[in-house]
């Protein structure tokens, strides 16, 4: 029994960890700006394309940091160009702006890449196949949960124990008062986007190493599931986002294991509805101390 379930669990934990890295970006931005950054899934996709094109000409050791830097620049630019000018506008306007950016990025990638699937390069140390018990899988499957947990712990420490973290918490509690206290709000928001985008870039490397085709719309599904995970765990809570993502990753794989492949997404979203019916703020939504 365990031997049969093991590969599904491994796949579930791994894909859940990858969703978690994207979900952190949603939850951070929501915690501070009360904005659902719809462009986040497309930034994730863009990171995939950066790697495809960079690895074609540069060694992996250089392209990995370069992908992270480029993705961070993209996330930062999106915030400066599309969200910052709307800081005082009603929240709905900035949300619409986010949807616009999402479509802009998708169409831009469609145009620049020709709209066809690109093969993701293999990353040494992650792409090799290993044998775990009866299951054979890539190293990335095993590495993902550890990397995710490590990054999440680092992020929580950053938020709870550094000056910029304190500023982030202050902004999330009260935007205007924080400004009066001398916090440079634009810097704090930029840092949020930088962290979120860097996480998305790492997430994309792990995700595409396992599922190696990059297309302009490939980020839509993981993006949506990560968003669901963030809401599931209580949007604004970082550990919540991680646990939500792991639950979603594992549950969708177990449902496929049970043979109901066609319903795995339906079940995932039904689970979200049930949780929200009983806990409208998500699993960890009420523990305000965890909020960024």
């Amino acid at each position: 029994m365990f031997n049969t379930l093991l590969p599904y669990l491994l796949a579930g934990i791994s894909v859940g960890g990858q969703y978690a890295l994207i979900a952190v970006g949603y939850t951070l931005v929501y915690g501070i700006l009360r904005l659902i950054n719809f462009a986040h899934g497309d930034i994730f996709t863009a990171a995939g394309f950066f790697m495809v094109y960079l690895a074609a000409s540069l060694p992996v050791g250089i392209s990995v940091p370069l992908v992270i830097i480029l993705t961070v620049i993209l996330g930062f630019t999106v915030e400066r160009v599309a969200y910052k000018p709307l800081r005082t506008a009603p929240r709905m306007s900035i949300m619409i702006s986010a949807i616009g950016v999402s479509y802009l990025l998708q169409n831009l990638m469609w145009y620049l890449t020709g709209g066809l699937a690109k093969q993701y390069p293999g990353l040494p140390g992650l792409s090799e196949t290993v044998q775990i018990g009866s299951a054979s899988t890539k190293i990335v499957t095993i590495a993902t949960p550890f990397l995710t947990i490590g990054l999440v712990i680092a992020l929580v420490l950053l938020i709870n124990h550094t000056k910029i973290g304190m500023a982030m918490r202050a902004v999330s509690v009260d935007f205007e008062t924080a400004q009066l206290m001398g916090i440079k709000i634009n810097n704090v928001i930029s840092v949020t986007f930088v962290i979120g985008s860097a996480m998305a870039a790492i997430g994309s490397m792990l995700y595409f190493t396992n599922y190696t085709a990059v297309t302009p719309t490939i980020g839509a599904m993981p993006g949506l599931k990560a968003f669901v995970a963030a809401v599931f765990g209580g949007i604004g809570s970082i550990p919540g986002a991680m646990i939500g993502a792991l639950i979603i990753g594992i549950s969708e794989n177990l449902i496929k294991a049970a043979g109901w492949t066609a319903f795995s997404d339906a079940f995932t979203f039904a689970l979200l509805i049930v949780v929200l019916l009983f806990r409208p703020t998500g699993l960890f939504g009420e523990k305000t101390t965890d909020k960024v």
């Binding site: 066809l116 699937a117 299951a135 054979s136 890539k138 599904m221 794989n253 492949t261």
Partner: protein, 387 residues
């Protein structure tokens, strides 16, 4: 000054009218160049363009007409296919070629039927394309045949239990999967059938299901985007039994995915590059030279000069369309539609004659193996079904 400008504008408006008055007949190319089937659609367009470059004119009523290709991208999506089809009808095309992908063809078929424009299916293999639409003809074989061929081939490989994986709601894959299942069960095999949803990227659980179910062959007719992911996942889980699919998999994307991995990928297709008939050999060498002369075209072919079966079909489809126009001796869509059932043509993919549904009678499929070492397709055998 004002008068001069007005005159200039007037002249500019008249010139296009004169240009349009030249003898031009438009052939619509209804193909995906983006989306899940974009890679294959582009190769099909290349075949059509090559045919157009060889025979750019057609004679109607003793007068020579220039053939202009009107290309519309249906983005591999059934909803976008309708608007692409409408744009072709709006451009007053006389006949339409395409599409790669049965779903898009069926969606566009209604528009063509309403406008009375005949369409020639190039590589759409679902029977309903022609069955449900009186204005659709087709020059390739059909899925009931292809499914049976692959089931027979699976049996020959020694398989007893097949894992059939298709995308929910995709007309081509679900149809072909069903014909495979029917044929394979008739041959005494067992089957596990599963579906994935559009946009899915995670095939780990599906491959697990195949392995745990004790299957010894996978049949996964689907778009190349998903195919690459399925092959990758099968390789990382150490799947050693063969993976089979239909005509869509004969594509560079599959070769890229399989290259250097320990997987056995087979697909059935319409044409083989090493066919030694004179027409086919001429086509292959001419097409390769034409591709190599232009970097952009080579990129559209997947970055190499391997001749895809769909390019050969595209080439034949264009020539069938010209034959129909010549037979009708008219640029009028209705006249061409009336002439099409009687058209016969011997192309590079074999003889083409239409039956009462508008399908070409073809009874042979080529089976190819994606060689992971050389990164090319090896011809395995031709297979037909004993009825």
């Amino acid at each position: 000054m004002k008068k001069l400008l007005a005159l200039l504008v007037a002249v500019m408006m008249i010139v296009p009218v004169f240009a349009a008055a030249e003898d031009v007949i438009k052939i619509g190319v209804f193909e995906p160049s983006t989306g899940d089937n974009g890679a294959g659609g582009k190769q099909e367009i290349l075949g059509i363009e090559y045919a157009n470059s060889l025979t750019p004119t057609v004679t109607i009523g003793g007068q020579e007409y220039q053939v202009k290709l009107e290309i519309a991208d249906n983005q591999s999506l059934t909803d976008k296919a309708v608007s692409a089809a409408q744009s072709l009808v709006g451009a007053n095309v006389s006949v339409v070629l395409g599409s790669y992908g049965s779903g898009a063809s069926m969606a566009g078929g209604d528009v063509f039927a309403e406008a009375g424009v005949p369409a020639i299916g190039v590589s759409c293999t679902n029977p309903n394309v022609t069955l449900l639409c009186d204005y659709y003809w087709r020059i390739c074989f059909l899925d009931p045949f292809q499914g049976t061929v692959m089931a027979n081939f699976a049996k020959e490989l020694g398989a007893t239990k097949a894992y059939v994986l298709t995308m929910l709601g995709e007309d081509y894959g679900v149809g072909l999967g069903k014909y495979f299942v029917d044929a394979f069960q008739k041959l005494g095999g067992e089957v596990i059938e599963e579906n994935f949803t559009e946009g899915n990227g995670d095939f780990a659980a599906y491959i697990n299901n195949a392995v745990n179910g004790g299957c010894d062959v996978i049949f996964a007719p689907c778009a190349t985007t998903y195919a690459a992911l399925i092959i990758e996942q099968a390789a990382s889980q150490g799947v050693t039994f063969p993976i089979l699919a239909g005509d869509t998999w004969e594509n560079s994307a599959i070769l890229d995915a399989a290259k250097g991995k320990d997987v056995k990928v087979y697909c059935s297709t319409f044409f083989d590059e090493n066919d030694d008939s004179a027409a086919a050999a001429d086509f292959v060498s001419g097409f390769k030279a034409w591709l190599n002369a232009d970097e952009g075209k080579k990129t559209n072919n997947g970055g190499n000069d391997i001749v895809a079966a769909v390019s050969a079909l595209g080439f034949d489809a264009y020539n069938v369309a010209l034959a129909a126009i010549t037979a009708a001796d008219s640029a009028d869509p209705a006249a061409i539609a009336a002439a099409l059932p009687g058209v016969t043509y011997t192309g590079v993919t074999g003889a083409i004659a239409f039956d009462e549904n508008g399908d070409a009678r073809k009874d042979m499929a080529y089976i190819k193996f994606a060689n992971p070492e050389t990164g090319a397709f090896d011809f395995v055998k031709t297979q037909s079904v004993a009825e």
